[in-house]
């Protein structure tokens, strides 16, 4: 608080801080590779994807207060949209600048399709219907290989085109001005760009009229509608916007992995994204980013617990995969009980300021 007040009061200091953050982010893959190896650059890439996903879900859950338990379905729609139109599956190879917006649009359409009939439902009904929706999408992806083969079923789609920037494939290693840029680095910068963009959009949304209307709906729907807010349309908008983020992230995921299969879009993945939002603090953009990064990096660190147990106890008592799930469950419960506002709560000041603005 104190520091941020100081920084925001001093334009030069603020400039320096931003420059430092930018420099840090730009050099991060090189530093990471040098310190921990290239696999950790890959982990950071995945973390950036989850930042996008979590921010998308944050619009739905955090801003508008609609519990969506099938969010990963939009990620799946984006990923399959990209995979189908940029792979040998249909022998079409559309470029990413067509496919990413298309995936986003497709996801948004799905969001509206899901939202239109269900948004008048109460919160917990909505949760269960969205959960069902997520499962329906996965089952469809798994089964749309017969009688006509569209999705290639459980085998998934392989040989998906990488992103081509001006004829240059991001999946290859390039050398620019003596700097070697392997695939994971190239994708890092693309993902970073997209993640920063999503953060910027989220922040703008949060303080816009729409964002404040969402929060009004979240806090008291009846009062919001009495204030003249068109709750139905705004809730639909939240669904569509959230889905868009998921769709873009999905397209990026497909191009990055080169392979998609229904196995990547289970309910547990929806819950993981939800955990990121809840852990960081619902509605707080910075908190959600923190939550996403923590929950992608932490499981990687937890991997070392298995060998550690082996060394200390002579056997693996708790499977690290189980431990991770237990921690997720515990995080959800404890956060709600002890710190419902998240690790990085929304600052009260902003709420007050908003109140002063709004009325």
């Amino acid at each position: 608080m104190n520091l941020s007040a100081k920084v925001s009061g001093n334009p030069q200091l603020r400039w320096a801080l931003w420059a430092a953050i930018a420099l840090l982010l730009l050099t991060l893959p090189f530093a990471t590779e040098a310190l921990f190896g290239r696999s950790w650059v890959r982990i950071i890439d995945i973390a950036l994807l989850f930042v996008m996903l979590a921010l998308g879900l944050n619009i739905v859950v955090g801003f508008a207060g609609l519990l969506d338990l099938g969010y990963i379905a939009f990620f799946a729609v984006g990923a399959y949209g990209y995979a189908l139109l940029a792979s040998p599956q249909f022998a079409v190879h559309w470029p990413f600048y067509v496919l990413l917006p298309l995936g986003a649009a497709a996801a948004a359409v799905f969001g509206i399709l899901l939202g239109a009939p269900t948004l008048r439902l109460r919160g917990d009904y909505l949760a269960i219907v969205t959960l069902g929706f997520g499962e329906i999408i996965r089952v469809l992806l798994n089964n749309l290989n017969r009688p006509v083969n569209i999705t290639n079923g459980p085998r998934g789609i392989t040989l998906i085109d990488p992103i081509q920037l001006g004829g240059v494939s991001l999946a290859q290693t390039h050398e620019i001005a003596g700097i070697t840029l392997p695939a994971v680095h190239n994708y890092y910068y693309v993902f970073l760009f997209c993640a920063v963009l999503t953060i910027a959009i989220s922040l703008r949304l949060q303080h816009s009229r729409i964002g404040r209307a969402w929060m009004a709906i979240r806090d008291d729907e009846l009062a919001a509608s009495a204030m003249g807010i068109h709750t139905r349309n705004l809730k639909l908008l939240a669904f569509a916007m959230g889905a868009t983020f998921g769709g873009v992230a999905g397209g990026l995921f497909a191009s990055f992995q080169g392979f998609v299969s229904p196995a990547s879009f289970h309910l547990i993945d929806s819950i993981m994204v939800l955990s990121m939002v809840v852990l960081g603090g619902m509605g707080n953009v910075a908190g959600v980013v923190l939550g996403a990064v923590l929950l992608t990096v932490l499981p990687e660190a937890l991997r070392y617990i298995g060998p550690l147990q082996q060394r200390l106890l002579g056997e693996v008592l708790i499977d690290p995969a189980d431990l991770r799930m237990l921690l997720f469950g515990l995080a959800l419960v404890l956060m709600m009980l002890l710190r419902p506002e998240g690790l990085w709560p929304v600052r009260r000041r902003s709420a007050k300021a908003e109140a002063a603005h709004g009325r």
């Binding site: 109460r122 009904y125 269960i128 089952v139 089964n143 499977d319 799930m325 469950g329 959800l332 709600m336």
Partner: protein, 307 residues
């Protein structure tokens, strides 16, 4: 015809299991207006506890009826305690919190139960030792075992008992009062905390019975088995009108029959375009349809916007 009768039997028995689990959802929802996401996993714990008891006793040569009673008793005991403590720890502190909070805790509890079970029982599918040899009854060429019949009768019996209890007993009246308005009920001398705790205990105990039935019927137990079962049962409760005890059983039976008939006949009806691979979707389609067309469910009162 023989095949049709068999499919009907299949559906009714599957539906009875859904109904037993749905009762737990509907009771808690009636009182608290909360979807107890963890209920499916309480059923799972009941099933695995029963399995463990059967495994231990059957090997020791204890007679089958006694094994059944002991397995059921242990499952009910463990699940009741579990339901009681979950309510106390995870839901009671959040009774006045925003609606989202207890839902998220419920999801968390569900995950915790699953993976704690995985730690205790492992992740393998556990087989039930040979215990019963249910006799088969022949109905117009279709097979019905005594076990299947027992499951069906049990579901209907528990429903009748519950209906009577809620209508006639003192506790039942307190439950109805709490359902109407907890604050006023409190003013009228009802101990709301006790009523809610009691509801959780009864719901969990019925879940334990459902778990025992699942184990006996399918002969298999697994830490993840409660998830899909819970989801289907919740769908059944919504279908019948959530909060309504009779509706839960009706919804369960209907859903079971719909699933059974759909996987049996949809392939031929659609010329092979759809098939049994879409079985799990039917439940969700029914759910969405009911919620959109008649959110209060088949037997629910039209007071759907109670909160």
């Amino acid at each position: 015809m023989e095949i049709f009768t068999q499919q009907l039997i299949n559906g009714l028995v599957l539906g009875s299991i859904y109904a037993l689990v749905a009762l737990g959802y509907t009771m808690v929802y009636g009182i608290l207006g909360l979807i107890n996401f963890a209920h499916g996993d309480i059923t799972m714990v009941g099933a695995l506890v029963a399995l463990t008891v059967v495994q231990a006793l059957a090997a020791a040569g204890v007679p089958a009826p006694l094994v059944l009673v002991l397995a059921g008793g242990c499952a009910i005991l463990v699940c009741s305690l579990l339901g009681l403590s979950i309510e106390r720890v995870a839901y009671r502190p959040l009774r006045r919190a925003p609606r989202l909070a207890p839902l998220i805790t419920a999801i968390g509890i569900s995950i915790l139960l699953q993976y704690t079970a995985a730690l205790i029982w492992g992740k393998q599918y556990i087989a039930l030792p040979k215990l019963l040899e249910p006799a088969a009854i022949d109905i117009a060429g279709a097979q019905l075992t005594t076990l299947q019949l027992a499951i069906f009768v049990l579901a209907c019996g528990i429903m009748a008992l519950l209906l009577w209890f809620i209508k006639a007993s003192r506790m039942g009246r307190a439950m109805r009062a709490t359902e109407q308005n907890p604050d006023v009920a409190g003013l009228m001398g009802v101990n709301v905390d006790t009523v809610i705790a009691f509801t959780f205990v009864v719901g969990s105990a019925i879940g334990a019975v459902a778990g025992l039935m699942v184990v006996l019927y399918y002969g298999i137990g697994h830490y993840f088995m409660g998830f899909m079962l819970g989801l289907k049962a919740f769908t059944a409760a919504v279908l019948g009108g959530i909060g309504n005890v009779g509706g839960a059983v009706l919804g369960g039976l209907l859903l079971g029959v719909i699933e059974s008939m759909a996987s049996g006949y949809i392939g031929d009806l659609t010329g092979g375009v759809l098939g049994s691979n879409y079985r799990d979707i039917f439940a969700f389609l029914v759910l969405v349809l009911v919620l959109v067309v008649k959110p209060s469910g088949l037997l629910g009162q039209s007071g759907g916007d109670r909160a």
